[in-house]
């Protein structure tokens, strides 16, 4: 219980004192310590008022302050009116009990909300507390992250948080990005590389030059985003706030009618009035709107928190809600579904040659190349030929490259390069998709290396998972040729793709798909676009939900999108859909449960079956249960 705030501890003490006094009073009454004729008489009022005020003085005070400020119909007002009504009817026990249990409920409510708030701030505990700045004379001072200036040299000791985005100028090591990306494998960094604030330094000391002030750093932006996420409300949240606005006054009017109408009709006003006033008081207790108002946003708050633990930032509850109704996902190809860089996809050797030799000589020729295809070939080869054996490198722009390797002449190039050089190519070559690089040694064809932009390793499984989450359709868009697009689509199991698109064409395609969706029978169906966030900004903003991938440290991507996936793992998308569905499920269950219990109590209260105790449960009890239900969102998977 050490996590209680000062106010909560004070409230708890008041509740316990009042509870004890109330229990003693009840025992005295039922054990006939108090004379029979005093039961329910005016003389007992002061006695009951003592525990009543101990536990409820703040409620009564707030009620009067509220009335003075013209703020009627708040919880304090309703509870005070209900309990005063009960006193008026001679039900002293009931009045004290209602106030007591109302406060107990409020206490639990505040405790539970505090807990879940704590759980979320723990998730978001990425903000650095301090920074070590190295002065010109080499001394180190500890400063507030806010005081970091661009260009400052910061020392990051092992285990410390990186305070702002910067470049490593000395030291290398592994940094833990899991708080930001959800990725548990540490990322290696070395001199000259970028580091992102909020990551935790591993075993080695790093000297980093600050590239951004703290306020512009990744961490500050993420925190800002998560905090303001609550202000972009989902439809469910807006519905419940609107509902609460008319719910309370309606029930209060109902209570008034209930107090006066039945006794007037029955004609025996004097005898029945107090019974009906009591039923009306039950109404007043139930009419408190807090259980409803709190249950929904808390579920969304939890959902956003759960997503951020996965390394996914959701910019508002509304986007989470739309993710739950996802019908179509439109995805960019290069860099999103594929690695975004060339890799050797296939090597074919001519009869009598080995594949590794083909690759090795090609890599030797390309070793100084800056062309993406050449670099891919070099990268794929792990047994380098010593540089001093490679001479006479000649670049034939757009066609190929040739060099002397040892005593032989090696050519690597496209078909026209080989035709020019009079080297014949066999007809039964591989038909693998991608760019074909032919390799010859001393004028003789020895093999083909196919270089392609490969789909991401986890992309296929992610697509399967997305389709399993009842997403009806996945469409791939690309500026690439139709054959390259088809190859990737086939590999990933995507049936629908549009190729050879210019950036503005992508917007047009998304608009067409949105149009189709709006005409479909399901008006709630939503479309999401997944892109890298840099080239796709217009499309990201046009889609219902714009999802930017691999955006760690990219301001533009964070700005343009609605959901930001910090690393480039596509598997986060089905995970977010699941989180979104669970959030919607919980918030709907909360609404249904709260309304059901409240309406049931209203009906039973009007009939005189449910008393004020039941009403208190319908108010605060329901709120606590809804909060606990919402907290499931934050539970570890």
């Amino acid at each position: 219980m050490s996590s209680l705030t000062k106010k909560q501890r004070k409230d708890l003490i008041r509740i316990i004192i009042a509870l004890v006094m109330f229990a003693v009073l009840m025992i005295c009454e039922h054990a006939h310590v108090i004379p029979e004729h005093l039961h329910g008489s005016v003389a007992m009022i002061p006695v009951y008022l003592i525990p009543y005020f101990i536990v409820g003085y703040d409620v009564v005070r707030k009620c009067f302050l509220g009335i003075a400020h013209g703020q009627m119909f708040d919880e304090s007002f309703l509870m005070t009116l209900a309990t005063v009504g009960a006193f008026g009817c001679g039900e002293f026990e009931e009045a004290v009990a209602v106030m007591l249990f109302y406060q107990v409920g409020e206490f639990f409510q505040s405790y539970a909300v505090g807990k879940s708030r704590g759980a979320i701030s723990e998730l978001m505990s990425i903000a650095p507390d301090y920074a070590n700045r190295e002065a010109e004379d080499g001394s180190i001072e500890v400063i507030d992250p806010d005081d970091i200036e661009v260009g400052d040299i910061l020392i990051i000791k092992p285990g410390e948080k990186i305070p702002t985005d910067g470049t490593v100028i000395e030291g290398e090591g592994l940094i833990n990005t899991s708080a930001l990306t959800g990725e548990s494998l540490p990322r290696p960094v070395g001199t000259g590389e970028q580091v992102i604030s909020g990551c935790i330094n591993g075993e080695n000391l790093l000297r980093v030059r600050a590239e951004k002030a703290y306020d512009d750093s990744t961490v500050a932006q993420i925190l800002e985003m998560v905090e303001s996420a609550a202000s972009r409300k989902s439809k469910t949240e807006n519905f419940i706030t609107r509902f609460a606005r008319w719910y309370t006054p309606t029930v209060v009017i109902g209570a008034l009618i209930l107090a006066f109408l039945p006794p007037i009709i029955s004609g025996n006003f004097a005898a029945e009035f107090s019974e009906w006033v009591l039923r009306a008081c039950t109404f007043l207790v139930i009419s408190c709107p807090c259980a409803l108002v709190i249950s929904v946003p808390l579920a969304f708050f939890g959902g956003i928190g759960a997503a951020s633990r996965e390394g996914v930032l959701v910019k508002g509850s509304n986007y989470l809600e739309m993710m739950a109704d996802l019908d179509t996902i439109v995805s960019d190809k290069t860099g999103t579904l594929t690695e975004g860089k060339f890799k050797v996809a296939k090597i074919e050797a001519a009869p009598g040659y080995r594949e590794e030799d083909v690759l090795r000589v090609a890599a030797a020729v390309e070793s100084g190349s800056t062309h993406p295809i050449g670099m891919a070939i070099v990268e794929a080869c792990d047994s380098q030929i010593p540089q001093n054996l490679i001479t006479d490198v000649e670049n034939h722009a757009g066609r190929g490259i040739s060099a002397r390797v040892g005593n032989g002449v090696v050519c690597v190039g496209n078909q026209s390069f080989f035709v020019e050089n009079g080297i014949s190519l066999p007809d039964d070559r591989t038909e693998a998709d991608g760019t074909h690089c032919f390799v010859s040694a001393d004028g003789k064809y020895i093999g083909t290396i196919v270089v392609a932009d490969m789909p991401k390793a986890k992309a296929k499984q992610a697509i399967i998972d997305i389709l399993a989450e009842k997403v009806r359709r996945i469409v791939m868009l690309t500026g690439d040729s139709a054959s390259a697009a088809k190859a990737v689509a086939d590999e990933l199991g995507i049936t629908d793709f549009r190729a050879e698109l210019l950036p503005q064409d992508k917007v047009r395609v998304v608009e067409e798909l949105l149009d189709e969706l709006s005409k479909s029978s399901n008006s709630k169906a939503r479309l999401a676009f997944i892109g890298d966030g840099i080239n796709d900004a217009p499309v990201l903003s046009r889609a219902d939900v714009g999802i930017a991938m691999g955006s760690l440290g990219s301001d533009a991507a964070i700005e343009a999108s609605d959901i930001v996936i910090m690393d480039d793992d596509l598997a986060r998308i089905p995970a977010v859909i699941r989180i979104a569905r669970k959030t919607i499920g919980i918030s709907k269950a909360n609404i249904a449960f709260a309304l059901l219990v409240k309406f049931a109590c209203l009906v039973l209260g009007a009939l005189g079956i449910a008393n004020m105790w039941a009403a208190v449960f319908a108010d605060v009890g329901v709120a606590v249960i809804c909060i606990l239900n919402s907290m499931r969102m934050l539970a570890k998977r």
Binding site: I120, S231, A244, C290, P297
Partner: protein, 73 residues
């Protein structure tokens, strides 16, 4: 200008919704939110009258929940 303030002892979710409504109605406020969960208030208003708007907002909050305090930095 857009600024955030921490709220202390904001005790009820419905009060937060009421505060938000009231603050949004203040002249010069372009956007505002009061979050019960983060216990924070966000106000976006014209620079020229910002301080005045914040003063108004503090009054609105005191009206809805007398015990709730705004931490003015």
């Amino acid at each position: 200008m857009k600024k955030k303030y921490k709220l202390i002892d904001l005790d009820c979710a419905n009060c937060a919704a009421k505060m938000e409504d009231a603050i949004k109605k203040i002249d010069g406020v372009t956007d505002a939110s009061v979050s019960f969960l983060t216990q924070k208030m966000m106000i976006e208003a014209d620079d020229a009258i910002f301080d005045q708007v914040v003063q108004e907002a503090v009054k609105c909050i005191a009206k809805v929940e007398p015990d709730c305090q705004v931490v003015l930095k």
